[in-house]
């Protein structure tokens, strides 16, 4: 089995399962309860929050645990917009964001907010100058992803953050779901006010994630209720999920320290091998996130290729899993300006630190065979 769909979701680390199991069995109290079961759970929650904050390089109270990347993005975008609309009602984002950002912004448009969806250049990268130019007196929020989930392109969030730092009225949110554990991003003094992480993309569990909320940032809560997590996120905490998330964060951080070159090499090998196959077009420019490579095979339906690869026990995807059901066309590739035959024939190969050179070789060979066989069938 070759699993090259790590941007859709990852296989949990065995240690993550152990954490989950241990907490589920031994710490079942509700962290809000004031008896010993509750206090034990509360202490564990604080410890997890503290460890997450250290791994993230922020303060403990700046970590809010969520049910995943989608909730983190919604909480940040709706939360800032609704809490600060008296200061202005303009939001800046890009055309290549994840649906959880784009759709959250669209919903705000129906409430009277104005949203600028910035285009990207022919490499799939938003231009710093465009962001700067889009800012108006009304702008209260800029939301830009760090690593794009379909192309793997790295967005200039550090430069944007530096600029926005000088504009305290504007909050800056970064969707770091695909970047965390792959491309380091410093929260300290970089102008980032909010940052989303999702557990299941870093070998953690689905339904876990966190949102970094810089101290003093007022958010309108997405969920109302028992006022858990400093009133920012009501609902009984998923403690076993939270502890397992922090475990995954730690393990992926360690792995990235020792294996980031390795992942880059895998990516380069993959790129070189696919480049040698004439019918493959590579959509991701060089030197981007090491785990994602987007290609097109014009003339071939992506599902057909995915199916044929699946029969060989090889798993890749079309575009983002979240939009797999819509039309074949990739909105992200379209935004980059690729021709129609490329935007409707895109495939995403996404790696983990645990893939091997042999898998890449086998994959490249299999892809070539599969396409050759399909072309025979199609005559």
């Amino acid at each position: 089995m070759i699993y090259f769909d790590n941007s859709a979701t990852t296989k949990p680390f065995p240690e993550v399962l152990e954490s989950f199991l241990k907490v589920s069995q031994q710490f079942y109290g509700n962290p809000s309860s004031i008896h010993r079961f509750g206090i034990d759970a509360e202490n564990l929650l604080r410890k997890a929050q503290n460890q997450a904050s250290e791994l993230f390089g922020v303060e403990q109270e700046e970590i809010v645990f969520t049910s995943g990347g989608t909730e983190g993005n919604n909480m940040a975008i709706k939360g800032i917009a609704l809490a600060h609309q008296n200061k202005g009602r303009h939001i800046i984002t890009t055309e290549i964001e994840h649906p959880s950002v784009i759709e959250a912004c669209k919903s705000l448009e129906t409430l009277g907010f104005t949203v600028t969806y910035l285009p990207v250049d022919s490499n799939g990268i938003v231009k710093f100058a465009d962001v700067k130019q889009a800012i108006t007196k009304e702008t209260i929020l800029v939301s830009i992803m760090h690593v794009n989930n379909e192309l793997g392109t790295i967005q200039p969030v550090e430069a944007i953050g530096k600029m926005l730092k000088e504009m305290p009225r504007i909050y800056f949110h970064v969707d770091h779901v695909q970047g965390y554990g792959k491309i380091p991003l410093d929260m300290n003094g970089t102008g980032i006010d909010l940052c989303t992480v999702s557990g299941h993309k870093i070998h953690g569990l689905k339904g876990t994630g966190l949102l970094y909320v810089k101290k003093g940032t007022k958010l309108f809560p997405l969920l109302h209720g028992g006022n858990q997590q400093s009133n920012l996120r009501s609902g009984t905490e998923n403690l076993a999920g939270i502890v397992s998330l922090v475990k995954a964060m730690r393990l992926i951080t360690e792995k990235s320290k020792t294996h980031s070159e390795y992942l880059k090499e895998l990516n380069q090998q993959l790129r070189a091998e696919l480049l040698a196959i004439s019918f493959i077009k590579i959509n991701t420019i060089e030197d981007q996130a090491p785990h994602i490579l987007n290609i097109s095979i014009p003339g071939y339906k992506p599902e057909v290729i995915i199916h044929a690869l699946g029969e060989r026990d090889i798993f890749i995807s079309t575009k983002s899993a979240c939009s797999s059901k819509k039309t074949d066309e990739s909105a992200v590739l379209k935004a980059v300006g690729f021709s129609h035959d490329r935007t409707i024939s895109a495939l995403r190969i996404s790696l983990s630190y645990y893939n091997t050179k042999e898998e890449i070789e086998l994959f490249s060979r299999s892809l070539q065979r599969v396409v050759q066989q399909l072309s025979k069938v199609m005559g």
Binding site: A8, Y28, K206, G225, G226, G235, S317
Partner: protein
């Protein structure tokens, strides 16, 4: 000394079989249900199966079930979603003063945004009155939200009567069944509810998952936006393992329901009888006939909540003074204050005991004996 857990209404231990059902999913079926390859399809199958089990448990169709991150989120979607989607039909919402904060605070937020909210009072019995509801209904009412069992007192609310009353009214009817699930018989068609909330961690499932039932035709907005999961009503990569664990919990509580409830009822009986034998001065808050078998809220005259809780905890008995969700603080219970008036001493000398999976008969007697001794000491 092992502590005795009598706080199952706050949260319950995860059943070992539930964990066992979840682990293989995490290990082997870790695909994203939206992926079109085999890993995705297998995960999707598990989701479908769980949805079908969840639906059957309340006699609903599986397409009417959406999984959420818990009871709080389901309550929020039910209230915010229907309020905003039906604003053109009216701006009046009815709920009650005894709801969980997930409902109350959401209603308050809607109030701030221009909706009119009526909070029905509660009687000394712990029940809200159907007549009060009838009087509060107007042609502007778009939503009625009444919980099925109160989490602090365990008192059942007249959901079926309310459902009948609303059959010919435009208002949608939501019930927060978090504390009723697994205990009361729930048939959405008998109850005539349009929306119904359930949370997994109250029924020995994992934390961080729940579901909302939404009847066909209900106009409802989403509160989160993104992918097309859960029929576009709740985006985000589905928490497949938790959902499978939840499914297992549902099957377990259904499988042994009568036997289990008889057992919990007998725990409660034993507990109360032991207290009586100790000649303790105590009173049950709320009409005893209307209580679920698992919860009893008891007032101990002459004592005070804080010292009771502290002494119980020292003696190894984990209970609470009401909702755990009033995060960490011992505020007087809003439910008891509404039942008896905020000046009544029952609001500051009452404890909720809730029974369940973590208990056995021996523990119950031991707990009651210790409770008796502590109360006698503190009340004298």
């Amino acid at each position: 000394m092992d502590a005795i857990y009598l706080d199952h209404a706050a949260t319950s231990p995860v059943h070992p079989d539930v964990i066992e059902a979840m682990l293989p999913v995490m290990k082997q079926t870790f695909g994203n249900p939206s992926s079109i390859h085999q890993y995705g399809r297998k995960a999707r199958q598990l989701l479908d199966q769980a949805r079908s089990v969840a639906a059957s448990s309340i006699h609903a169709n599986e397409k009417n079930i959406i999984f959420t991150s818990g009871g709080t989120e389901a309550d929020n979607i039910a209230l915010l979603g229907t309020a905003w989607a039906n604003k053109s039909k009216g701006n009046h919402i009815i709920t009650t003063v005894i709801e969980h904060h997930a409902t109350l605070r959401t209603a308050e937020s809607l109030e701030k945004q221009g909706f009119e909210v009526t909070y029905l009072p509660v009687q000394q019995s712990g029940q809200v009155s159907v007549k009060d509801l009838r009087d509060a209904l107007t042609d502007q009412t778009i939503l009625v939200s009444v919980m099925m069992v109160n989490n602090e007192t365990g008192v059942k609310q007249p959901i079926q009567e309310i459902g009948e009353l609303l059959i010919d009214h435009q208002a949608y009817f939501h019930t927060d069944a978090v504390q009723a699930y697994g205990i009361c018989d729930l048939d959405v068609n008998v109850l005539n509810v349009d929306l119904l909330t359930v949370s997994s961690h109250k029924v020995n499932g994992p934390k961080g998952v729940g579901f909302l039932y939404i009847r066909d035709g209900v106009q409802i907005n989403t509160i989160q936006f993104g992918g097309e999961q859960e029929r576009k009503r709740r985006p985000g990569t589905e928490n497949v393992a938790n959902i499978v664990g939840f499914k297992k919990a549902i099957e377990l509580i259904a499988g042994e329901k009568d036997q289990r409830l008889r057992k919990y009822q007998s725990y409660k009986q034993t507990f109360l009888e032991t207290l009586k034998e100790l000649n303790l001065d105590f009173a049950i808050n709320g009409e005893e006939e209307q209580l679920v078998p698992t919860i009893v809220n008891i007032s101990f005259p002459g004592t005070n909540v804080e010292s009771l809780l502290m002494n119980f905890d020292l003696a190894g008995i984990a209970v609470s003074s009401g909702s755990a969700c009033t995060a960490g603080s011992i505020e007087p219970s809003h439910v008891l204050s509404e039942m008896f008036g905020s000046e009544d001493e029952r609001t500051v000398n009452s404890i909720r005991f809730s029974f369940g999976l973590a208990n056995n008969e021996k523990q119950i007697i031991e707990a009651a004996t210790k409770v008796g001794a502590i109360v006698n000491r503190l009340a004298s």
